[in-house]
Amino acid sequence: MLEIENLSIQIGNFRAENISLTVKDATIHVILGPSGSGKTVFIETIAGFKRPEKGRILFKDVDITPSPPELRMMAYVPQDLALFPHLTVRENIYFGLRARGITENVFYERADSIATSLYIKDHYERDVTTLSGGEKQRVALARALATGNKILLLDEPFSGLHEGLRKEFWFLLKKIQKTLNLTVIAITHDLEEAFFLGDFISIFINGKLHQSSSKEAARIPKDKIVASFYGLKNIFRGSWKGDNIFIPELKLTVPVCSSLILTKTEKNDFEVGIRSEDLIIYDPKRPDGISRVSPEVFSLPTLIGKITACFEKNQSVIMLFSPLNSEASLEIEIPYYKMERLRVEEKKNLALAVPPERLFFLYKNGET
């Protein structure tokens, strides 16, 4: 287990304060945040390239904060991969073994088997500058793994690849991580990549760790800054009306469900949000026909309104929904095929069901 305790970093104008994080063994922990939020500085501090101002990094309960990078046993793959251009593929992969003065064949054989599993053994004698993007990626991974390090630090290593290849590497990384029982800390600014790869996700914005949780819990933003980073639009002021939540802007009352009670705020003036893909839209005139919604949906708090705009993405559609007698607008995201079934027409009234268990409270930054 890797534990980061109250780490403070000051590099030039960048400052990160009191970061505490636990990375469990044999998991992928993703540090997610926008570009320029200090993720790279953070991972470079964990690797030992930069010294923290204060705080500790513990690996298996041993304080490794003062240890130089070569003694931390953490393999690092930077964004540009940094393959040594003066060495061949084989020399790049063997570099770590040679640097450690290892001469036993068994270690070189293990490096060869990693290279074989990554399909790059056939390229051993090639100059690394002549490799394709995907081949370079494989060499960088093989080089990092060849030394037998159990912690792998990845600094947006797939960002230079095209979409198809990037997804191929997501699967590959998951497979390698499971096979070799690796602990991976990966940083990314890509939400899709973070949720695909991560078992745990920490949100890092402007040098501050906003939330750190399992992937499932990470779907729910804890504050407005994270909600804004996620691009969540459906955030409204709310108040208590007995045991129900009342959202004045939507003129909607939502009963409190068990998952909400867990985070129930005592304040009477708060903000609630819901993800655009958690809303359920259907045609109230043909609920069980074209819309194919389950019968439970009809018992949910529902808004009636119109679709005011549609934006088609690659695999889904984003729609803006305006409830009747309200100035508010809600963002809905549905799979492309559902859009075809829904037959969105101008002036046609549609129903929007709000599942209470999908509502989340938003705290001001710093509150819990």
Binding site: E44, F49, E70, M74, Y76, A82, T129, K136, R143
Partner: protein, 269 residues
Amino acid sequence: MARQMKGLDTVFKRIVIINAWGIFSIYTVLAFSLFYFLKPTISFEILTSSRTLYSLGLSIFAATSATLISMTLAVPAAYALSRYDFRLKSLVDAVLELPLVVSPAALGAMVLIFFNNPIGSWINEKTISFVFSVSGIVLAQLITTLGISVRLMKAVLDEVPVRYEYVARSLGASPAFTFYKVVLPICRRGILSSSILTWAKAFGEFGATITIAGSIPKKTETLPIAVFMRLAAADIEGAVVIIFISLAIGLGVLHLYKKLYYQRRLPDA
């Protein structure tokens, strides 16, 4: 409007190109004016004379020695300036500009004055004699090129992303192993091109050399000093021949430098 913009663009382009040709022509006129005093029969005699050949050999030897010492000292110093923050770094950095702001003659005089103080004269008498000797030429060239070598090497090292070193260290390499097995091989072309410029600068050094080592024919007379000595003796034909030798060597070396410089960019790995 677009036509007007295109017209302005063409005018600007012509002005800057004419400017480049103007500078080229200044040097070309100067070089061609040498032919006025070039007398083939005498020229060959001067070229093959033992005094000229000695000066040529001495210049090459001294410049090569000074470059080797200069680069050996400059590479680690440049690495320190490029990679680390240390106390009084900006002061160290500023002092390296000394050869650019102080004339070579003044630098030579500083060395000469140093050898006249008790420590300096002890070094000069008990170890290597620098004043009026070949060692003095090497020292003069070293003093005038060292700062420039560090500058050139710092520029080369600044171009090498530090992530190469990060990766090497994470793979278990010590800082020294990383320096010798990663940093130096990656910037080998940069080292070579910096060495060539340092050598060219040392080869043409005059002020500090004549101040420290004097101008003794067949002892401390390098090519630049030979030009000065022949001009002082009104031997213009002789000076012209030596200028031609210097020009040929200088242009050859600069051509080599440019070739290496343009190949220096790091491959996309």
